[in-house]
């Protein structure tokens, strides 16, 4: 079942992608991982937009579809991982882009690369409290405007009254 997905994970081999990125942005990639047929690249926050634009425009990659944005909280390290799942409708391959930021830090919005990022980033802001610089309309989306706290942080209680 999973073999097909692995075969189509990336055009030929993922090393090629990494080399290409390394050639242009020599210090952008902090970590690379190929696990369960999926390639994950962790990049420095300041390289997020250029790398995303490169992945979207490069003729051999064409990651033109932003599937998902998600934030994972690591309270021990006081860090957030912002995860972007990209897909190419032309080549049918996937890649995962990750950015690690400290609690309270903000990150550049991807709305000018993919319009789909608009609501997805609003949801991340709503649920994890990460602010996106340059977002056209950054406000809560699922919770009401006067809500306190961000439920998907690990220190947010599962039950009980907020306050």
């Amino acid at each position: 079942m999973n073999n097909q997905n692995e075969k189509k994970a990336l055009p030929e081999n993922y090393e090629k992608v990494i080399n290409k990125i390394n050639n242009i942005f020599s210090t952008a990639i902090i970590e690379k991982k190929f696990d369960r047929g999926e390639l994950t690249l962790t990049v420095k926050p300041e390289f997020l937009i250029p790398v995303a634009e490169f992945l979207k425009e490069e003729p051999e990659l064409k990651f033109n579809f932003l599937s998902d944005i998600c934030a994972v909280h690591f309270p021990k390290e006081k860090e957030f991982e912002v995860v972007y799942n990209l897909y190419s409708i032309i080549f049918h391959h996937r890649i995962r882009l990750k950015v690690r930021i400290k609690e309270g830090e903000s990150i550049t919005s991807l709305t000018r690369v993919w319009s789909a990022a608009n609501w997805l980033e609003r949801e991340v802001y709503d649920m994890s409290g990460i602010t996106f610089d340059g977002h056209p309309n950054l406000k809560r989306i699922l919770l009401s405007g006067d809500w306190k706290g961000h439920p998907l942080r690990k220190d947010y209680p599962l039950s009980g009254k907020e306050e």
Partner: protein, 370 residues
């Protein structure tokens, strides 16, 4: 839209919803109107938010299964499939072939049931009430098949990590085959009622157009994207279960209007019938469940798995820390992302067209709000 309105009209702001029959749930749309033309709009969601992603962090992988039913409650089995396959990918479990075929049959029936609900309510919204009655008549038969399979009709909790809870009961194949034989004739009936109906054409043709580039940029997926002419179906492009062995076509539209989205869904039901027919023939005997440890404890790591749900790309991103409960679950709900395109689609149209356009995206608020 040309600026043909009177000079002295004043822009007014109007609320549509949260309680409105055409929104199929609690969706509120803030409209900036110039006369009856929409200038700008803003969908306001979240009325049905239940914190499902937070709940997932406090449940074991097995316990989360029934909650996935409550995402898109019109096609519960598809959500189940996405979840179990994501966990199986995380753990590296190979599912027996027989289980995969049964999964395909159930989820394709679910797709037909979902499209029937969609067609019925969409036609009802636009004013063709008869179609609703016919659609629900056939959907009832599918729900009966589900009841036979697992005892539930709506929230199926149909699959288990590693396979199925139990095999199909005796007489199941015959019942499905009987339905599949008759069903294409019913689709022709719906089409006879709608496809050349003058009112239907006027209400749907050239309404809510979205081009392929805009659609991809906005993250649209599923039938709504294919109606704009993008031939992308995860069942074909990244096949899961046994879809690579089955023959079927991907219907696409040309204009990307409400009518094309209707046509694509109608054709998808025909393709689902084809898939089920083949799956029934090819289904082998054998085990229905792989050897799975009694306590599900995936090794640390992360996985993103998505399937072609009736509404679009349904994905689960799971982060495991090696314990019995997921560290983080993110649900990529197709309805949530697709709803983003609404503002673009209704811009410049009349208020009455909004009803047709919301319906054509096929959203379920349970999945939008999670």
């Amino acid at each position: 839209m040309g600026k043909t309105y009177l000079e002295h009209t004043k822009e007014i702001i109007m609320n549509m919803g949260p309680q409105h029959p055409s929104t199929h749930g609690v969706l509120r749309i803030k409209l900036w109107l110039d006369g009856e033309t929409v200038v700008k709009s803003e969908p306001i969601i979240g009325y049905l938010h239940r914190g499902i992603e937070k709940l997932a962090e406090y449940r074991t992988y097995t316990q989360f299964m029934p909650i996935t039913d409550r995402l898109d409650y019109v096609s519960a089995a598809s959500n189940n499939l996405a979840w179990v396959q994501a966990v199986e990918k995380l753990m590296g479990i190979e599912v027996p072939r027989r289980a995969d075929f049964i999964r395909v049959i159930i989820t394709e029936l679910m797709r037909i049931a979902n499209h029937l609900v969609w067609l019925g309510t969409q036609a009802n919204d636009i004013g063709a009430v008869t179609v609703l009655l016919y659609c629900f008549r056939e959907r009832e038969e599918i729900l009966d098949i589900f009841e036979m399979f697992c005892g539930a009709r709506l929230t199926l909790n149909a699959f288990r990590i590693g396979g199925l809870a139990h095999d199909i009961p005796p007489g199941f194949k015959e019942k499905v085959r009987d339905f599949i034989e008759r069903f294409p004739k019913y689709i022709d009936d719906y089409e006879r009622l709608l496809s050349e109906n003058r009112i239907w054409l006027q209400r749907t043709k050239n309404i809510g157009i979205i081009t392929a580039e805009e659609a991809i940029d906005l993250g649209l997926s599923g039938p709504s994207l294919r109606a704009s002419g993008v031939k992308w179906d995860i069942r074909k492009s990244n096949p899961y279960a046994v879809y690579d062995e089955l023959e079927f076509d991907i219907p696409t539209g040309e204009v990307g209007d409400v009518y094309d989205r209707y046509k694509v869904r109608i054709e998808e039901m025909r393709q689902s019938v084809r898939i089920i027919k083949q799956a029934l023939e090819m289904m082998p005997d054998g085990e229905i469940r792989a050897k799975v440890p009694r306590i599900i404890k995936p090794p640390p790591g992360e996985v993103y798995h998505s399937i072609e749900a009736p509404k679009g790309e349904l994905g689960f991103y799971i982060v495991s820390d090696g314990s019995t409960m997921p560290y983080r679950v993110k649900i990529r709900a197709p309805s949530f992302v697709n709803l983003q395109a609404l503002s673009k689609m209704i811009e410049g149209h009349l208020v009455a067209d909004i009803v047709a356009i919301i319906g054509s995206i096929d959203i379920v608020l349970g999945e939008v709000d999670r």
